[in-house]
Symmetry: C2
Subunit: 250 residues, 2 copies
DNA sequence: CAGGATCGTTGATCTGCGTCAAGACTGCCA
DNA sequence: TGGCAGTCTTGACGCAGATCAACGATCCTG
C-alpha cells in the first residue's frame, strides 16, 4: 500500500533524475511530463520527510509552498474558532497539496502517517507552469476532479444519513485502492475514528456505532482497528446511495 | 444586478467583436484575454438565452458543453435517487459552468432567473486552451478558487449550526455584491427558501425560522421576499463563525 | 381583478444524531 | 511484562433541526 519506498530525492543535479524512480510519479501530475520536463521540475523541488502529526501547512500562514505527496498520508482540514474541525480531504501518494490557495493557506495539513513529499516554492512553480503547458493542463484536470469530489462530499454532508456517509466513505476508499491497482476488497484506514467523523460531519460515537451495524449486517469485516474487508461490495454501494451517475467518473 | 443587458452575441464574423461589449467580461475568465484571443474565443462560442427553470445541463448526460454565464443566475445541484437535493452552487454573471466534468456531467444546472450564457463545445474549447495559455491559467485560478469555496462549504455543511449557515450564506452574498462593485448592504435573493435550504443542508422551515430570528434580532431587515438589507454586518459576520482566516481570499 | 397554485411562515411533535458517561481494547515505554 | 494513556465501543439521555400540519402571502393567468 505504501508502495516501494524508493526515496525519491528529487535533487537537481546528478545524471540520474530522482523523479524517474519516484513510486508516486504515475499517480501524480508529474506523470504527464517527459524526461526533459521532469528534469526541470525536479530542479526546482525539495524533498521533505514527515512523521505522524507533523504539520505541513497551517491555515492562515503565507502560502509559500506546494506539495506532491510521494509516500504516506495526510489530512487536510479547516477549523472554526471554537475548535470544531472539518477534514476536507485525505491525501495519499500522487495527490497534490496547495491547489486552493490565495496568498494564505485556507486550510491546515498534517501528516497522518510518516511519509514524504516533493515540496515546491509556489512562485517558482507557477513560473514553471507557464513553461510546461502539459503540466498546467494536468493540474487543471486534477483541480476539476477535486472539485467534482468536493461536490460529492457536499452532497454527502448536506443530505446523506450517517449510514450513507460511512458507506460512501468506504466505497470511495475501495475505489481509490482499485485505481491504484489493488483489489479494492481490503481497505486500510490510516486515520482514527475521530478523523473519519470529522471528515463525514459526524461524531466518533456515531462512526463507531454505524461501523458496528455494518459489521453485524455482514457488509464489512474488521481485520484490525485500521483495516477492514468489504464482504458485500454491492450492498455497501447500495447503502452509499448512488445510482444517479455518481460512479467513478475518471 | 442583472447588469446592462447588451446582448453579447459572440458571433464569429463581423468587424465588431461582441465579447468586447459583454457586461460580464471583466468578471469572467475571458477578462484576461486581449483583443486577438477574445476574437478567437468568440469565434467558437454560441449564444444561449434561458428562462426560469430551463435546464442547461442534466446530471448523467454526455458533457458536451461549457458555459460562461453572462446575465441572470443559475443553480447547480446533485440529486440522490430518492429526490434529496444538494445545491452545490449558485452561478451569477462571469461564472463558469462545466469545470468539474468527466465524460458525463456530474451535476445538473437550471436557470434561476432568465438570462444568457456563452456556450462552448467542450472539445473545441479544450483545444483552444492549448493555444491560449493565458486562458488556461485563468481557468486554473478559477478552479482553485472554486475548490476553496467548496472547502468552505464543506465546513459549513459538516460543522456549522443552522444560524451559522444562514449568516455565512448572507455574508457571502454581501461579499459577492461588494466584489461586483455594489455596496454589499442590500442583498438580492433570486432563489426560493427551498433552494437556500438545499444549498445549506437544511429544510425550508428551518431557513424561514432562522430568517425570522435574524430579523427579530435586528441583524437583517426584509425588503421583500427576495431582497433584504443587512443592518448589522459585523454581528452577521460574528454569527457566521469566521475569525480563522476565512475572510475573502481573492 | 378573481382564483388557484405556489411559496413562505409559524406551531406542535418527533427523531437521528449529539452529548455525557463508563468500560474495554490497543499499543507504547519502562 | 505490566501499567498507563490514548483510542474505541456501548449505553442512557437530550436536543437541534426534521417532519407534519395549518394558515397566510404572493404571484401568475385568464
Amino acid at each position: 500500500m505504501t508502495g516501494t519506498v524508493e526515496s525519491p530525492v528529487c535533487a537537481s543535479d546528478g545524471r540520474i533524475d530522482p523523479c524517474s524512480l519516484c513510486s508516486a510519479r504515475k499517480l501524480s501530475v508529474c506523470g504527464v511530463l517527459a524526461d526533459e520536463g521532469l528534469r526541470r521540475l525536479s530542479g526546482i523541488s525539495d524533498h521533505q520527510d514527515f512523521t505522524p502529526g507533523e504539520i505541513l501547512v497551517r491555515e492562515g500562514d503565507p502560502a509559500t509552498n506546494l506539495f506532491n505527496i510521494t509516500t504516506g498520508s495526510v489530512r487536510v482540514y479547516k477549523l472554526l474558532p471554537d475548535g470544531r474541525r472539518q477534514i476536507v480531504g485525505f491525501l495519499f501518494p500522487g495527490d497534490f497539496l496547495g491547489l486552493a490557495t490565495g496568498d494564505r493557506y485556507a486550510f491546515s495539513a498534517e501528516a497522518l502517517t510518516s511519509g514524504s513529499a516533493c515540496r515546491f516554492h509556489k512562485k517558482v512553480y507557477r513560473r514553471m507552469l507557464t513553461e510546461l503547458p502539459d503540466l498546467e493542463a494536468a493540474l487543471l484536470d486534477r483541480a476539476s476532479h477535486e472539485l467534482q469530489a468536493a461536490h460529492n462530499q457536499m452532497l454527502l454532508l448536506g443530505r446523506k444519513t450517517a449510514v450513507e456517509r460511512l458507506a460512501s466513505f468506504l466505497s470511495d476508499l475501495a475505489a481509490r485502492d482499485r485505481r491504484a491497482g489493488g483489489p479494492g476488497r481490503v481497505i486500510q484506514l490510516p486515520m482514527t475514528r475521530a478523523e473519519i467523523a470529522d471528515y463525514l460531519g459526524l461524531t466518533t460515537e456515531t462512526v463507531s456505532r454505524v461501523t458496528s451495524r455494518l459489521k453485524t449486517r455482514g457488509v464489512i469485516r474488521l481485520l484490525s482497528l485500521h483495516s477492514l474487508s468489504i464482504e458485500k461490495p454491492a450492498e455497501l454501494a447500495e447503502l452509499a446511495g448512488l445510482d444517479a451517475g455518481d460512479g467513478e467518473a475518471l
